[in-house]
Symmetry: D2
Subunit: 382 residues, 4 copies
């Protein structure tokens, strides 16, 4: 006898023991109880895949070792998965995304979209050809106050956009730990696995996506000054980027993984001709708002004076902090709504965001490669 | 065919539509995937109970309307619940706790223990007479940095305890919203439902529990100055309390629900003869540590320099904020470990904490009733 | 040839080499250029007095070694001092205050008023008998935002006063440095020099004065729990105090000199039935204001939305921090205005504040001496 | 009869009624009592000049209306000024600087050096030709923690410099208040009075000077993206600048006067391969230091663990905040030491800093004028 309420049946590719982001996706999928993990290719190593599956309560028959086999088998089952989460390193995104989309299974994929622009185009074609949904987990756009900020700007509360300062600073690559075999560092600094971007791909894509999400504006041109400070490092670990946004706004973006004293310092400041906003991910339950000629106000997640736009994406009262996992859960819950046709799509990143992220990486690499010059940023349709 | 990994079967009493804390318990139970909600008396109103059960995926046969019936029925089932969460108002704690304990079912109960000392004694007897575990959800003791603080103090890093300042300030009862029928305010300000304590019961018990948890010390005497600022309010909404702790330390405790500008301001500062600690619940991922004659340091949840004591209770890296729900999840996960004999008991609040909380309320009421005099605080055994 | 604009001629008693507060008074007197130091008994040691005078540009003829001689001599001079600053330890306040008042010279005295209530009464008589002004330097009431807070409360912006939390935490007496001959610690922990109060006299009097200044309310009763944590220390180094204020407001006051990690942590939080304010001396250029049911606002010294009440006491635009010395300078400048009959008196502490501070110390000592009981606080006239 | 101790005789050009920075210079000169203002051309309007002089205690004979007359007259007097402060708008710096230097009088000048590079060269020649000292008041380099930071970096505590983020954000030009006749806005947005730089000249020069002061590094190349957001504004009000520093460090500089919610937000973050520092001018008494693989520490002005380098430039104990005026006073006191041959010169900005500031403005304008390209930054001798 099963419960009367339906949870979406979820599969996972990647995310076995030792993974960071796979576990995060699983918690995010559980928080609002809209998904149930029932199948997976959790590792490319059969033994580890089986162990990981057992740990997670996946029955052996659905603990696959090949994602193509999984896509076909699950598509045939009456109780097959409805949606799959892809949580592998970047260079292993494209093939499973395409396989599951072709099998008619919705896809949730960690960012960035993939490792190369060629892969990105193939994924894009697959999305167009499929009736299934494709969602990219730009985690930070799930924070309630970020969604509040987006709405306030869309409603004109800050006036015409002028200046945006966005930064994402970490310090975990201060030393060249990839040379000591640290797993997370290894693939993130390896061009074959990450693609052409180091910090710009891993965290810069988050920063630019947040910038665009909140302001509703796309870049028209950018200039990137990329550097590798780690001795022998193969990809950028610090990026200084200037952007010209639609409508005349100007932005600065800093992404660094060698800024000692920064753990996960994603910060956004937005200034229009009527007001300014400041938000920091490490204390995400508050946001500063200043309307020109008024005192600065502190808006809190769910708090007085912060407006109604965020109440759909928060679970507990103001003063009870929510964090990264709840932000991630909002992405999953929106996806469940999207799949179940209850709305949810408006705030989710899809293939267009994925392509724009890849464009961003490519444009940065091109700009830096030509000595730090301005390069145009082509607008995508749709 | 079921999944290979076992989740503990969980029931719930209370927590139907419109409840705050019931939903929190459910999320907390899911985050680490150790529980599955399968039965409940979610409301005393049969229609609402049924609707709430359906929403939560509880099959109709296990959507009870009477907790005594539920306790007996579940105890007989081969797949009956192993543990039940009690999330009703205070005056409805004792009866279900006792019923489930007598049925051999583990009990997780929201704080405070109950409404009266007489009930508390009955519960205490029931706990002694049962083989089942009893856990009180003192949420805030689940925060990783609070557990780190406890360990540091136990290890002597701050030296001999001298002064502790603890406060829990809110503002949601600034106006007498209970007179307008606000549900949460209604029962929390009603002596028949809450017992003799208003702010001291609702949040003061959290504050004193946190004080004792972190320092490892119990009060020996206290003096309380209680007040009702809301016009016509029936229970205290502001409490100023002095405590003499074991070992000579002195503490100040402030609990208020009328302090405008405080959402959920639980703050703890602890000073020994070698060092001091400062922590605030609203930004729980950092803690300030000062060792005498050294610069102040900022410890972060999971961060460099913060020691290993917390890593068991955190899921994501430093800089990725965890919050209230993850803290609550730690209580649930410890409980799962306790039930499954994997440890977990050392940091959980049980019947003794529950009794001490009731003692605290009673002592405050007695002190205030005699004009603000010192009253002793009797030490419990065990 | 002298300058056309007149500066008030200032003398000083105390404040020679090695003094802390004497130098502070001198800087404060210079900032707004209303005083000129021309005479002094800078030390009881003639050699040191002479050296200190030379350092400060005081001519030898006016570098006295006896304050009585100085009072008489200066009173006779056509260019004699108009005002004197008393910056000696507490037990050496009364005699010079009285001598200068009797000589018709205005007196500025560091707090607390003196060492004993008997001295306080004598000073009070001398003030009544003299036409000269008497000003007590309660430094912290000079901060512009504190004056803004006072005005806002007087104007009813926070509504009826309910709860006040005030604290003054330091850590410089964590170890018993007075036993190693540290000069500042030596006299402040010596009952013969400081009077009956340790932390309560040195910093508790600041805290209670700030509380009264901002709210406009006096205590009606208090209860004090005093302790000496330093081994062998002769005066309190930690004080936990409850106060019942006029009009039904309740206050908590914490003064400590052994709270490791606190440098000069004077903090004030005030809650009425319409709003709340929070301010901390270590970052004195901002204050948080929350009006019930509105978002918290950050008021800045001189900034937008912070009102006009403070502009008289600030020199530079918002965002350019002023600090402790400018706050102290406001006391001096108000005193110059008072002497020159340009206003200035309304916000200055005089003999009444001095007596109330002494009452506070006495009441605390009495309450603690009787085991921590409530003692009444008699209202002074005038 | 005059005091036995000598104060340096100070003159002033500019700084009459309605001026901002003139009053700041005067307070700064008084705080440590090393200067006495005795002469000036306080306004180009004779009536206002006379009134301002009277207000400041300057005798009529030394209240000049022409700085050339003043320079000659004072040079002849036995009690003539030893040093002059130039506090006029930028385009009125060069002529008085040169006149006083030629008269053998030391010059203290507000930044930036002047309005045009041609003027800068003339000033530079005059400095070379004169025995008098020339000091440029880069105020923010007077903050004790900034000097501590400089020393720590020079001592290698942060390791090899990698990344520097410096920003100076204000919001007072959000609206085009210069078009309403606001005096401060008027000349700062007028190319004829300010020179080619708006925000880059007024505040960008502070930011780049701070960057160079703290790191000990000069720019080798820069790229500037300048913009005028105010409608009809004639000079830049927002600047996004990338810099390549000596030794391979990379920097980002943001200067803005239209960033709503920023009062005087000068912030510096410096990252080396061993550690990072963070400091903000609006709360200048603390600085965060993180050594790689250690917890973040908070250094306070004069506090424990902050080292001895700052004690020369602070007057009061940790926890007693000093601010902008004390920082400015440090520049004046160093200048007095320099003139009196007691040291003081090492940390002062002189002609070289002035020229570099002008180079910075010119390079920014050139870069922006060519569409945002990299331009070299020529190293000056000396």
């Amino acid at each position: 006898m099963t419960a009367s309420r339906k949870r979406l049946r979820l599969g996972m590719v990647g995310g076995g023991k030792g993974s960071f982001i796979g576990g995060v996706h699983r918690i995010a999928s559980r928080i609002d109880d809209r998904f149930e993990l029932v199948a997976g290719v959790l590792s490319s190593d059969p033994m580890r895949a089986a162990e990981s599956a057992a740990d997670l309560g996946i029955v052996p028959a659905r603990a696959y070792v090949d994602f193509k086999v999984m896509a076909k088998a699950e598509a045939k089952r009456a109780d097959g998965i409805e949606v799959v989460a892809i949580v592998t390193p970047n260079h292993m995104h494209a093939a499973p995304i395409i396989a599951f989309l072709q099998a008619g299974i919705h896809v949730i994929c960690d960012k960035p979209l993939c490792a190369t622009m060629a892969e990105a185009q193939m994924i894009s074609e697959a999305v167009k050809a499929s009736d299934a949904h494709f969602v990219l987990t730009h985690t930070y756009t799930g924070y309630p106050l970020i969604r509040q900020a987006r709405k306030m700007i869309a409603d004109g509360e800050l006036g015409q956009m002028r200046v945006i300062q966005v930064e994402y600073a970490q310090d975990w690559l201060t030393q060249t730990i990839e040379q000591d075999g640290q797993k997370q560092a290894d693939w993130r600094t390896d061009p074959a696995k990450s693609g052409g971007g180091g910090a710009i791909g891993d965290i810069g894509t988050h920063a630019v996506d947040l910038l665009c999400f909140v302001t509703g504006l796309k870049p028209e041109a950018l200039l990137a000054d990329l550097h590798r400070f780690g001795d022998g490092r193969r990809l950028d670990d610090n990026a200084h980027i200037l952007l010209h946004m639609q409508g005349g706004a100007k932005a600065m973006l800093w992404a660094s993984q060698i800024a000692v004293g920064n753990e996960n310092g994603l910060r956004l400041r937005v200034y229009g001709d009527r007001g300014g906003l400041e938000w920091s991910q490490e204390n995400p339950n508050k946001m500063c708002l200043t309307i020109d000629s008024e005192a600065k106000r502190i808006l809190t997640r769910g708090g007085v004076g912060s407006g109604g736009a965020m109440t759909d994406w928060t679970r507990i009262p103001a003063g009870h902090p929510e964090g990264y996992l709840e932000s991630f859960a909002n992405i999953y819950t929106d996806t469940a709504d999207l799949i179940e046709r209850k709305g949810g799509g408006a705030l989710l990143a899809g293939i267009r965001s994925g392509l724009e992220g890849m464009q961003f990486i490519e444009a940065c690499v091109n700009s830096a490669g030509s000595g730090g010059t301005w390069v145009p940023f082509q607008q995508l349709e749709g």
